[in-house]
Subunit: 303 residues, 2 copies
């Protein structure tokens, strides 16, 4: 019974779900590395191997222990690699081979081994789970410090027409890092679009770390890294619904946010972002939360 | 040449050294789990296996893929298990089998699978690396906020007669969690002993997370987890040298602390604690530090 589980047990369950690729029973031991120009940029699940083998001019599949799927070296630059993948994804989309491609976003993500590396190609966002490509985003914890030292946090509710997690709770502002935009630049753009926060305020947001996790679902493998910023707002500032991604905003005491994190109302990675805030701001007590170490480690699994 | 490396490259080197057990070339693939009462509480390096096999009444060594070293189930309670290990360690100490036991501390650490689990036995602190047993500590970042928004951090220098890392830089206060004491309780005790910080001030320290890492050296395998607290001090408070573990204290701007982290003056895990502070307080910028994600992940490797 969910009701009988402690707060920490419920949060550990969430962290395990968000790290399902690292757990026993995942496809991890059977996956092949996805390699571009000698660099490991993703993972390919076994179900994709027969399909990829049909494109020997693009994918070179090798077997055995060090088995991998390598993008052909004859595709010798960013544009050639991006075009080759784009064409194949277009075919799969027309043939309706994968449900995920039905959610085609017309938004490109950079593909590289580490965030600090030059991009090797760009790939349609809805397809990255098929190649286990890492994606990055930026999340903003908006908070207000009250006179008595207590804090409240701004929480958004996603509209019902969001493709993922409609109606769920979200951080004040969040967005994926598309090819070509910086982290702070994306933050400022999303603050304006999603919550009508002017640049003069958004630019005061402070970077405070990252969370990282890898989950696997019926659509693929998703290693994700989020850059976390804290944005302190004055008590009289009220974010406004902007581009229709958010239904409304709530200003809630941290105790309430803490309870909600362990429930099912939050979009899961947004619950992790809010939990990171609670930990950093001393709301969780190591002497009372006996799983404190696991809670922190679960927010920072290597991608 | 060290001088030609960037700040981030030097810090990543530090993180890799502190996670050496997870790196290629470590003894990790050859180690056996150390199991007590069915729970994995540590790891045993191959060099120890022949020796442990000489005590079949205490250690049951099994071979093969799932090979492990299990503490005999006939040792059925905390006291029996602690006594059996203590006796063997005493023999090894007399026979001068291991250098680490020459540094006998007469301080006991609890042995358990996770910090939240009940302790299964206690073990002399200087021996835990032989069994790859996890140990925990608490570290305090002492800082001062100046009128202009800038911050400085209190840094201690270890005395020359410390057994480990004499003369190196340290956090304001740090200490291991010995069997039977809570985290905050240990913090308050160490604040008083090491830096003459009265309880009324020490108790305002706020928990802000953890760091975790596992290194391997000639003495053994060391999975360590540190609870991190931030203690804001007023500009007029000056910590005083207490029990002689610290030579002197310095109040340094965060920019200076940042530079020192990438050098060799800091005790390595204290550099990690200070870096966690810099990250949480927005001193590192994701758009400038391209390895930002790796820096954060390197502070939080699963033990």
């Amino acid at each position: 019974m969910a009701g009988s589980k402690s707060w920490a047990e419920r949060v550990l369950q969430l962290l395990n779900r968000m790290n399902s690729f690292h757990m026993q029973g995942s496809s991890k031991p059977l996956c092949k590395k996805f390699v571009v120009e000698g660099q490991e940029v993703g993972v390919v699940q076994p179900r994709l191997i027969p399909l990829l083998s049909r494109y020997p001019e693009v994918f070179q599949v090798s077997d055995g222990d060090g088995g991998q799927v390598e993008l052909s070296r004859r595709l010798s630059n960013y544009q050639q690699r991006s075009d080759a993948i784009e064409q194949i994804l277009g075919e799969w989309r027309s043939e309706k081979l994968f449900d995920c491609l039905g959610k085609w976003r017309n938004e490109k993500y950079n593909v590289m081994s580490r965030f600090s590396d030059p991009s090797l190609l760009k790939m349609e966002r809805s397809a990255i789970g098929l190649f286990g490509v890492k994606s990055y985003g930026v999340h903003v914890n908006g908070f207000v410090r009250h006179g008595d030292g207590r804090m409240s946090m701004w929480i958004g509710r996603r509209t019902q027409n969001k493709e993922t997690y409609p109606g769920r709770l979200d951080n004040l502002v969040a967005g994926g890092l598309a090819a070509g935009l910086g982290v702070k630049e994306t933050l400022i753009k999303e603050c304006e679009e999603e919550a009508c926060i002017p640049e003069a305020i958004a630019s005061t947001a402070k970077p405070t770390g990252t969370i990282s996790y890898t989950y696997e679902d019926e659509w693929g493998v998703f290693p994700e890294g989020q850059f976390i910023y804290d944005l302190e707002l004055t008590a009289d500032f009220v974010p406004q619904v902007g581009d229709g991604e958010v239904l409304e905003f709530y200003l809630w005491p941290l105790e309430q946010v803490k309870e909600l994190i362990a429930g099912s109302e939050f979009k899961p990675n947004c619950a992790m972002v809010a939990m990171d805030f609670l930990i950093r701001h001393g709301i969780l007590d190591p002497d009372n939360e006996l799983c404190y170490h696991q809670l922190v480690e679960g927010l920072h699994r290597e991608m």
